[in-house]
């Protein structure tokens, strides 16, 4: 067990996040069991007051959980490698957690997506004075606690398993991937070049869909669906293309397929904006889809939903452009400078 101050901070924020989330989830259960907007009896009025409090609690929980996740990533990428023998970046730290760290990050991402979708519903609910989405909002909120709980538990287990005595082999994890010459340039059996071209082509498609959503007065249902699907599918393709091919231009080394080294100071912490942009895309695509669905079912909220979709479109455009700039930019500079691509 490593009692690093950043891990302690993560633990405190996670604890607070869970407390606020449980409090709001209990109210969400009450809303699901007895929300009667047509009645003005004592129980309903109390529930309406509690619903406002629960929304505030859930927002606080979301804030704590998002900040604690960023702090956890910063700890794994930058603070913990020096105290884990053999670790030079987050890959070594993850190795030292017996796989629990990776699972914690996955559950955290799921929890953040669930909370972000809840927040999208909540923002649209607040657009109208009479809480027309109270029940949908309660349902959306109840998706988050399991993922957040599992994320927190795995974080605690990962921190408990983290040893500053047992050495790890950070580079072995990376270079084991390229031991065989045939496996060097392929991921999931697909050549890395195809991933890169897929990344560029799908990125342009996503850019077009996001640009359309950002500009259209009332984006159509099919265009928003395309945006959401493209965003969710593009993010892993972009991550693979980045790690397998484009990161080489940041490292200046051909076969160093490590995502975590991008977070190091040596590489100007470029991993933060790169993976941050991917996170924005993964969050905003489904958020636009949720907004479109709500706008269709509740005509009174259609205008607010359209505004929300346009906002998602704008954010995705900015995130995709940022990702292109920081991932493909160094490769293009290299090509211009030396006249060849790496590898």
């Amino acid at each position: 067990m490593t009692r690093h101050p950043l891990l302690m901070g993560v633990a405190v924020m996670d604890g607070l996040s869970l407390l606020f989330l449980i409090a709001s989830a209990l109210t969400a259960l009450r809303i699901l069991s007895g929300w009667t907007p047509g009645s003005a009896d004592r129980r309903q009025i109390e529930l309406e007051t509690a619903a406002e409090g629960a929304a505030l609690h859930a927002r606080i929980a979301f804030g704590f959980f998002a900040v604690s996740t960023v702090v956890l990533i910063a700890a794994m990428a930058n603070a913990l490698p020096p105290i884990v023998p053999g670790a030079m970046c987050g890959t070594g730290v993850l190795q030292a957690t017996d796989g629990r760290g990776g699972r914690a990050l996955l559950f955290r991402l799921l929890g953040l997506v669930a909370l972000y979708l809840w927040r999208t519903t909540e923002d649209l609910n607040r657009a109208q004075p009479e809480s027309p989405l109270a029940v949908s909002q309660a349902r959306a909120l109840l998706l988050a606690p399991p993922a957040v709980f599992l994320g927190v538990m795995d974080t605690v287990r990962a921190a408990g398993a983290l040893s500053s005595h047992g050495p790890v082999s950070c580079c072995a994890v990376i270079y084991d991937q390229v031991r065989s010459v045939t496996g060097t340039g392929r991921t999931a059996g697909i050549p890395d070049g195809v991933w890169v071209w897929g990344f560029v082509a799908a990125g342009l498609l996503l850019l077009g869909a996001a640009g359309w959503a950002a500009a259209a007065w009332r984006p159509s249902r099919s265009s928003v669906r395309l945006l959401a699907v493209a965003a969710i599918l593009w993010a892993p393709v972009a991550a693979i293309a980045l790690v397998r091919a484009l990161a080489a231009y940041h490292y200046g080394v051909l076969h160093h397929h490590c995502p975590w080294c991008l977070f190091l100071v040596d590489h100007y912490g470029v991993g933060y904006p790169l993976f941050g942009a991917l996170a924005i895309i993964v969050l905003e695509g489904p958020a636009a889809w949720v907004a479109a669905g709500i706008g269709r079912r509740h005509p009174a909220i259609a205008e607010s939903a359209a505004i929300r979709i346009r906002r998602s479109g704008r954010r995705i455009v900015i995130a995709v452009l940022l990702f292109f700039l920081l991932s493909a930019g160094p490769a293009i500079l290299w090509r211009v400078r030396f006249g060849v691509w790496m590898g």
């Binding site: 607040r126 004075p129 009479e130």
Partner: protein, 227 residues
Amino acid sequence: MTAGLSCHDVRLLRRAVDGTERAVLDGVDADFPVGGISLILGPTGAGKSTLLHLLACLIRPTSGEARADGEPVSRWITAHRDRWRRRVGILFQTPSLSPDLTVLENVMLPLIPRGGGLAEIRRRAGDCLDRASAGHLAGLPAAILSGGEGQRAALARAIAAEPRFLIADEPTAHQDDDGAKIVMDVFLAERDRGAAVIVAGHDHRLLSAGFADRRHRLAAGRLTPLP
């Protein structure tokens, strides 16, 4: 739909230290239409201020609802209630002026979020002070005003934004007879402008002046119309 403020089966319970609940308001039903002055009379502690706070949606009822122009405002999400309250002018029992500001600045305050040039805001605030016979106090710090002066300055602040609903709690409590007449004249002018004016108090001058279009008596948590 009723144009104005209304209460529908409003109950407000308060919990005592021993855990028992007391009904401050118990099934209040009433309409306070626009273009009229409604007077709520009752003894001290009857719940008049509470009812006014409830009509201004500063507090939520335990059950029932307060409506504005037919909309159940008391049940709205806080942000919407706060926005709606821009249409309400409130004269609290105590003037609640910012002591570090001048009287004019106090009256200008509610106009600032509504936009408009500073000169126009200053002019409107000055007009309102003149209507409340407090124009001569404009440059004085609010901290040094007497009770009656403070109350008239607060009245000017309440009417500055031309509210649709004007709610006044014991507006003549600190006024001499001349001051009380000034206050009641302002209410009449606001009524003629088309506002719903709701006044609560136990000052006999309010009743004897005969300026109210509707009179109610609040006692034991119940509101009953007076002839």
